[in-house]
Symmetry: C3
Subunit: 156 residues, 3 copies
């Protein structure tokens, strides 16, 4: 653990997964200048998608929030891989949160808040980001949640 920000997560019982690989013919991130673009992350644990189904129907809101937390930790694992350390992040810019929604589910903000909370826990004020949360018809592998992100890195 090479970062005070990872330590902050660790104290809260949140551990970054060791490594994240793209599941198909794309890459987990692209860095362009100081901007880092992170691919959409599913709630995978040890490779398998851990939370599957429609939120509000098959999946409770609490379980969906856990899924969002897992996605957020995977995003941070990618950031660490891209930048060397979470301490190289100047600002979390933006998250897009896709919730696999049952027909009547409208509490997307509550699900997305779990991911936003991870960013705030890791980065404090620099973790406050722009956000869009929407309800989609399906997600890859039937995942309950998918999240991507854009980050500003410290110049170096």
């Amino acid at each position: 653990m090479n970062s005070k920000r990872e330590l902050a997560l660790h104290v809260a019982g949140l551990v970054l997964p060791d490594s994240v690989e793209a599941a198909a013919n794309y890459v987990p991130f692209v860095r362009f200048g100081d901007l880092l673009y992170v691919s959409g992350q599913l709630p995978r644990l040890d490779g398998a998608v851990a939370v599957v189904g429609k939120v509000g129907e098959d999946v409770s809101i609490e379980r969906a929030r856990q899924a969002a937390t897992i996605c957020a930790l995977r995003i941070l694992s990618v950031v660490r891989m891209a930048a060397g350390s979470l301490d190289a992040v100047e600002q979390v810019i933006e998250l897009t949160v896709y919730v696999n929604s049952g027909a009547a589910f409208i509490e997307h903000s509550s699900v997305a808040d779990a991911a936003s909370g991870v960013m705030e826990m890791a980065f404090g004020k620099a973790g406050r980001h722009a956000r869009t949360a929407v309800g989609v018809a399906q997600l890859p592998k039937g995942a309950a949640v998918e999240i991507n992100g854009r980050f500003a890195l410290c110049q170096g």
Copy 2:
């Protein structure tokens, strides 16, 4: 009203809401260099989501266009807050328009055009932007439309 661009909207009967706050633990915008990222905006009036339901079923296309207009004005209110004045905008870069779609609704472009029209009205040629419009399964609070945006600000 500190901007000729706001005046252009005003002449057309369009008024920016006074202020926009994020509804959860994220922020309405992040500025990184000259790039401004604006969070997804729902069609809120005085805090409440004014247009709720599935477009093409519960919500007419005309009403959905009104919702898109409200979202666009909220985005511009955030831009004004972030940049001080709409005159600080160099270019509208991109809008993403999410329409809460009934199963058979395919006129997303017409809904999105209402938001694009607001940008053109405010900024003229600098308001011509890249755009993506899609139909989603649900939106936060059951909103009929959600729109986010990215803007280039004048250097300063």
Copy 3:
């Protein structure tokens, strides 16, 4: 054909459409500095949307992959228009792939891989990008797939 990258596509039997126009009151791309934002592209051939319907129900996965290929070629046609030549691309940054999904369809990655493959074929290592693929409820004109993209251009 003014580009070795177009030639690489041509050898694979893939031809860029002549020109792409926005179907409504927005523009096909915005360039800001070295960043190019390309509007969402539908699988249009000669103006008409060629692949319509829900993937996994009305549209087979193979047909959806063809649709994704058409979208990707349209994106590259826009890039060529914006940058003069595909050779002006430094890096493909990010694709967002929206699949008009039947209720049970979960192979969005396989559909998106067709678009990613076009990028790899044209740009080699510079074509490896960040990606998000989701399943949406509907798309403009009932299209089976819609894809947008962000590109880094060579300085000049």
